[in-house]
């Protein structure tokens, strides 16, 4: 620091700890609620310290669900969320890498036309065209399927733009050298472009995984079978059931389960995640 003011430094730390505590308080309460019995969770005041029923509640949430809901646990929902998030992340990265490669490295008719067609999608979030997109998916018979859950959300341009930026910074000499060595376009793509954009791919994966995992409105619309529900939808349904008989221990355990995967991804891949944010969204 510029000048040495130990008091100010201590004050800064104190304020930061206070800030962190404020941010973390809801999560602490969730964790506490997930460790008590359902009976304790209906007694006022609610506990502020964890109880001893964590594993019991974990078992309840994973295998049985709420008592009113015919023994449906959230294991299947967690699996659906995982499949959906992975399909969106991998699918979007794959089609974006290919189209960015085509637009940056090839001269071909309608190149700019295709580019603008992709560009338009930057401006229209799924919420805006939700009804007609639903109709399209219904007409294609993709309701209640993993394809219906993921493909419509793959169609957007952010990733294409990021890869376009990345490719534009790769020196021309690399392509010349690859040509001299006799490499064709696909060879160049696999052996040079992909390895050189490794960190960008990873950063984007983190962002897209979270985006996919946290989707709510879209899965809510296009799934009607219990088997296809995602865990984020599961929470909402449990909350509705809680209007009659609150089983907050199970609901909060489910909330905890729903946030662990994306939070782990963010915390463990922090550096990549921050890099991905600051590079894609400016």
């Amino acid at each position: 620091m510029i000048e040495n003011r130990p008091l100010l430094t201590i004050f800064s730390h104190l304020m930061l700890i206070l800030g962190v505590a404020m941010i973390a308080f809801p999560i602490w309460i969730t964790f506490v609620a997930a460790t008590h019995t359902d009976i304790r969770m209906t007694q006022i005041p609610l506990p502020l310290l964890p109880g001893g029923h964590f594993f019991e509640n974990l078992d309840l949430a994973l295998n049985k669900g709420l008592s009113g809901q015919s023994g449906q646990g959230v294991t299947r929902m967690l699996w659906n969320s995982l499949v959906m998030a992975m399909m969106i992340a991998v699918g979007k990265i794959a089609i974006s890498l290919l189209s960015a490669f085509a637009v940056v490295y090839f001269r071909f008719p309608f190149r700019m036309f295709f580019f603008w067609m992709i560009f338009i999608t930057l401006m229209l979030p799924v919420e805006v065209r939700i009804l007609p997109t639903y109709e399209v998916v219904a007409n294609l018979g993709m309701l209640d399927s993993y394809w219906g859950l993921s493909i419509p959300l793959i169609a957007s341009a952010t990733a294409t733009f990021m890869f376009r930026q990345v490719f534009l910074t790769i020196p021309d000499e690399l392509l010349e050298a690859a040509r001299i060595d006799g490499a064709g376009p696909m060879r160049f793509f696999w052996d040079i472009l992909i390895p050189m954009s490794r960190t960008n791919i990873a950063a984007l994966f983190v962002i897209l995984f979270i985006y996919g995992w946290n989707q709510y409105l879209w899965p809510l619309l296009i799934t009607s079978e219990n088997d296809m529900y995602t865990v984020v939808m599961g929470i909402k349904q449990m909350l509705e059931a809680a209007e009659q008989a609150p089983e907050w221990n199970v609901i909060m355990m489910t909330a905890l389960l729903a946030m662990i995967p994306p939070v782990c991804v963010v915390v463990f891949m922090q550096t990549l995640f921050v890099k991905g944010l600051t590079e894609t969204e400016k």
């Binding site: 800064s12 941010i23 490669f101 409105l217």
Partner: protein, 293 residues
Amino acid sequence: MLKNVHFGPSVLPFLLVAPQIIVTIIFFIWPAGQALYQSLLIQDAFGLSTEFVWLENFVTLFDEEQYRNSFGRTIVFSSLVAFLSMSFALILAVLADRVIKGSGTYRTLLIWPYAVAPVTAGALWVFMFDPTLGIVTYGLSAMGYDWNHKLNGSEAMALVVMAAAWKQVAYNFLFFLAGLQSIPKSLIEAAAIDGAGPVKRFRDIIFPLLSPTTFFLLVINIVYAFFDTFGIVHVMTAGGPAGATNILVYKVFSDGFVGLDLGGSAAQSVILMIIVIGLTVIQFKYVEKKVAY
């Protein structure tokens, strides 16, 4: 944007763009066109008869008091969310930038609400503020305040704003911290030598240098509050009580899927579309050039 060294024409580039173009046309261009077209129609709820009415849907919308109220509420909501989450994030970022030791730890501790789904965030906050059981409600009533967001519209709004802002603090914090750390230390040292204290330095040097980041975040936060808060509202208040938290993106959903007013819902979608396009253009025009990381 084409590389100086590139491949000549062949079928290959068409095959490469094909997956994205196909997905874009089927799930993007076509439905967006449909939304535009539908906004000009009046359809009965069973889809039996349709009538082409030009802009009547839009005229009806702006005549409707409910819609105008929803517009106003959305503006109040998004300004509150943007202001709260940005100012809180800025304070934390300035403090974290000051304490060189441990700023990484604080970042890790602050970053994760970003990863929590809006619906999950809504569930946590609604649990804490439950009118009969909630732990915060209990605390408030001990202080003599009766909290019931199921009956009181402004309390419902406050609750939705808190949950939405809570989720967004992490994102703003990351950008402010990155912005602060890119300010040259020599500049601040020079000001310190000239006798400027921390507050004066922040006001006259640091904050002006941060303004591009601030402006960028303002646009991002408004877009977030307009569109990504659907889950929060749906879980916490479902637009209620008496429409007190019925923001635009929620109204599109409830009019279209619950009320089955397809033309009206599509017209609302088109208005939202225009707002996003406007914000995107502003962002590209003003921010792209000025923000430097």
